[in-house]
Amino acid sequence: MAEPNTQPNTLLSSEFMARLDQLDLLSRKILAGKLKGERRSKRRGQSVEFADYRNYVVGDDLRFIDWNIYARLDRLFLKLFLEEEDLALYLLVDMSRSCDYGQPHKAHYIKQVAAALGYIGLVNYNRVSISAFADGAVVDSGAMRSRRRVAQMIDFLADLRPSGQANLAEACRRFALAHRGKGVCVVLSDFFDKGGYENGLRYVAGGNYDLFAVQTLSPQEIDPPLQGDLKLKDLEDADTAEVSITAPLLKKYKANLNAYCLALKEYLTRRGGTYLFTSTAVPFDTLVLNYLRERGLLG
């Protein structure tokens, strides 16, 4: 497989970043943040937007007592305001050997999507955390916030190299343990896991995360340009399958792929997640600017 161009400046161009500045992350859930941010929180806190009243109790900040009410009713009420918090964006990136495949290159495409989402998150003062998983291990970028961390994020992504087996289950388990907070979780992977994607996604589906799964496949996987008698070798585990490419076999392969994607979609939908399928043949900016907006991840 040709070494893809993963230079930082190739992940996101400045023109594209300017267009991304217009976007923000959306979440169907109102999730609790950790820091003050630009997103409305369920919590009551300090903001300009009135939320409710409650009885004064000893110890409350006298600055929030509604003195007009006290004048009329002679009772102390406290004014409550909506809290504005930040949004946590967790990008779970598949960097197994199976992503080191395809033309356009699958891993590079995943990195570009992750960079775009991370960029949008950073410029909107959200906490962005990128976790790359491969071979059962998870490499975490740590939480990043503010536009100043864009270069750091892109460097992190650029340094990722596909290796080993995916092991989605182990990766998701570790991710879930490490990130107990709530947030938007975007999983970028081909989901070709012989252990089954269900074992992994159950850690991130539902509960704390607003889950988006972007299944990224190369055109060579969607419509294999194979012919003849072949010995197919799995990039991850070196497993082999001897096949004679025939029309019925190709037809069966495509039917199985379709069924596999549908099953993944159904699995996610049932658990409140969102499924998005993309081919690396789809231009990256189209995916980000159109598809992700249509699916409600960006707005």
């Binding site: 081909d190 070709f192 996987e221 294999p224 072949l230 991850e236 001897e242 096949v243 076999l249 392969y253």
Partner: protein, 681 residues
């Protein structure tokens, strides 16, 4: 036919199988060298493979389907190598004679639109295929004469070529000569001490069994295996007889008589007859009812009684023919007919003409009465003195009379051409002479009887001369090549106990019929044979042949044109025969000309036209050939030879072409299809 095949080369096939089957298995189990290709995951591929395998019917079989097909193909090839054969009624021996009947009856088209000869060719080819390596065969085709088409050879290609070259004729069937040729050739090429095996040569007869000389057959050192060919249900209507003659009283009236026969299995009603005069057909409204000839008289009677109808198989009609013509009679029921050669018969009717005869006699009551009875146009009698006086110059005689009869008078001079009959005298200045003694006196013989005569000669045909008695006769000195002064042709027609009695002598352009005794010195005038002889003589010598209409010839006949007719035609150097088959005949300087065998029925014409032979009709008119009911048993004594030899009589038909063509090739195609479709993984 025994449908269980046996094998000619089982050990060869077994040895090959011992090598080829393990080799195929070893080759099959060698792994296919596949091109290695990296994919992101084999997850879906393996699932697709499993799905296909699970869904495929007979998956266990399918897994090795190609191997099974290859094994099956190999087994078929091995079976072909083992040379499987089917055993039929005959088997090819080491020495085989293939006798192919090509006579008229073999042209019967009763085997699915094919002729019996086609079927015979097919069976003979099968026999050749079934011959073992090293076995020899020869091919003889026969009708009334045998023809060796291929001498003994082991070359199957040449044998088949010879078999395929056989073409049917309309001739009769005689097998005896063919058997003699077969036996003599076998003995010549393979004397008993040199034969590859002790078994006698096998004569394979492919025929419908309608053999004309079946009673004369005998086999001494060979064994005959007979393959009857033909269907007993084939219908055939035939012209069984045809004759026509002009009336003596009214020479322009021709009486035609035809008889038809039904050789099919069922009665045929309302058979119309078409009579053609020079190709102009006119239907004769005579509806005939023909009962099968194979029926017994009792069956015929029963049928007639039951149906209330009477069988009628003959037609007779009269025609006014002032000129010569060719009469053709044919039946109109072509649908009920499998053999075409006997559907029609033709006869040539020359223009009416009466003889002009001069009798030179000093008085012979019997001769005069005989001539009068013939109602000739102009019978004239002259005394010897009157004759000599009137025709002192022979040139005056030329062409004036058709026949001149000299009764006990030797003329002084004769013209160079003409027909002459002598009774008790001899013509002068000819190569045939009266024998003389030392004293110059003519030698006479007394009390002479008939020793022999040529019963088939037109002059004495159908006559009984055995009781002829001659009191005194001239001894004749016949010309020999040594003493002949010119080209002559002398034929003794009747041989007496003391020398020739009747001699036909041709010299120059004249024909002389010499009767070496005086009629009055014999009892001949009182016998029935005398007027008949006179009639025959008139018919034969001159165109008087036209008193009877010209005979037709059987197929294969070689009509002989007498020199006198050729002379009348201007002595051509070459004769062309136009008809169903074209011939060109070179005419020799002297003597009669025998035409080549005319094998096909029909009408032949000589060019230039030769009097009496301008047109020659060849008709089948043979009951044995027209009767197309095939004989189930071998003909004649050959049957005893076949059964007496105790031969199992098997014909072997090799199957390997069928094995390859019918099984192996489709199998190969199926294997290709399966491989191309990649159903198997």
């Amino acid at each position: 036919m025994n449908w269980l095949p046996s094998f000619l080369n089982p050990w060869t096939a077994a040895l090959t199988a011992a090598v080829a089957v393990p080799a195929l298995l070893a080759l099959y189990f060698l792994k296919l060298r596949r091109q290695e290709m990296e994919v992101s995951s084999t997850l879906l591929w393996k699932k697709a493979i499993q799905d296909l395998q699970v869904n495929a019917p007979f998956q266990r079989l399918r897994r090795n389907l190609l191997l099974l097909l290859q094994l099956l193909l190999l087994l078929l090839l091995l079976a072909a190598l083992a040379r499987p054969v089917l055993h039929g009624n005959h088997s090819a021996g080491r020495l085989n004679v293939i006798l192919m009947d090509r006579s008229a009856s073999m042209n019967t088209r009763d085997i699915e639109g094919l002729t019996r000869l086609d079927e015979a060719r097919k069976l003979a080819r099968q026999l050749v295929d079934a011959m073992e390596a090293g076995a020899s065969a020869m091919v003889i085709a026969f009708d009334d004469t045998p023809q060796t088409l291929q001498a003994y050879t082991s070359d199957k290609l040449r044998l088949k070529r010879a078999i395929d070259s056989i073409e049917g004729t309309d001739r009769l069937t005689r097998l005896a000569d063919a058997l003699r040729v077969a036996e003599s050739q076998s003995t010549f090429f393979y004397p008993e001490e040199k034969r590859p095996s002790q078994e006698p040569p096998r004569i394979h007869l492919f025929s419908d069994g309608r053999i004309g000389d079946a009673a004369d057959l005998s086999l001494r050192r060979a064994q005959m295996l007979y393959s009857p060919i033909g269907s007993s249900a084939a219908p055939n209507l035939a012209v069984a007889a045809l004759s026509a003659r002009r009336s003596y009283e009214r020479p322009t009236e021709v009486q035609v008589f035809a008889r038809f026969a039904n050789y099919g299995p069922a009665p045929v009603e309302d058979v119309g007859v078409l009579l053609s005069v020079d190709g102009q057909g006119q239907r004769v409204d005579q509806k005939m009812l023909l009962l099968p000839e194979r029926w017994s008289a009792q069956q015929r009677q029963d049928w007639e009684k039951q149906s209330g109808r009477t069988a009628r198989s003959a037609v007779e009609f009269k025609l006014e023919l002032v000129a010569g013509a060719v009469l053709k009679v044919e039946h109109m029921s072509k649908g009920a007919d499998a053999l075409a050669a006997d559907d029609a018969a033709q006869i040539v009717v020359p223009p009416p003409r009466s003889l002009s005869v001069l009798l030179v006699s000093s008085g012979n009551y019997y001769l005069q009465r005989a001539l009068e009875s013939m109602q000739l146009k102009n019978p004239q009698t002259l005394s010897p003195s009157a004759f000599e006086q009137q025709f002192a110059d022979p040139a005056r005689l030329a062409g004036r009379y058709d026949v001149i009869i000299f009764d006990r008078h030797q003329p002084k001079a004769l013209p160079g051409a003409g027909n002459f009959v002598y009774f008790g005298c001899l013509p002068p200045h000819l190569n045939i002479k009266a024998a003389t003694g030392p004293d110059g006196q003519r030698l006479l013989a007394r009390d002479v009887g008939v020793l022999d005569y040529q019963r088939e000669h037109p002059l004495v045909r159908h006559l009984n001369l055995q009781r002829l008695y001659i009191g005194q006769m001239l001894r004749l000195e016949l010309p020999t090549p040594a003493n002949a002064t010119s080209a002559t042709d002398t034929q003794v027609v009747v041989e007496g106990t003391a020398g020739p009695l009747v001699v036909l002598h041709r010299e120059a352009r004249a024909v002389h019929l010499v009767v070496s005794f005086d009629l009055l010195q014999s009892n001949w005038p009182l016998r029935q044979s005398f007027p008949a002889f006179m009639h025959n003589a008139m018919v034969y010598l001159a165109l008087g042949a036209d008193m009877e209409l010209r005979q037709s010839f059987p197929p294969g006949a070689t009509p002989v044109i007498p020199r006198s007719s050729l002379q009348q035609a201007g002595d051509p150097r070459e004769l062309r025969l136009a008809g169903p088959v074209q011939h060109t005949v070179a005419v020799p300087a002297g003597g009669d000309v025998a035409l080549p065998a005319l094998s096909q029925v029909g009408l032949y014409q000589t060019q230039p036209p030769v009097p009496q032979f301008e047109k020659i009709a060849i008709n089948l008119l043979d009951e044995n050939e027209s009767n197309i009911l095939p004989m189930a048993t071998p003909p004649g004594q050959a049957a005893q030879a076949a059964s007496g030899g105790g031969a199992s009589g098997k014909i072997r038909q090799e199957l390997w072409w069928w094995v390859l063509a019918c099984l192996a090739v489709p199998l190969c195609l199926m294997e290709w299809w399966i491989y191309a479709r990649r159903v198997h993984l």
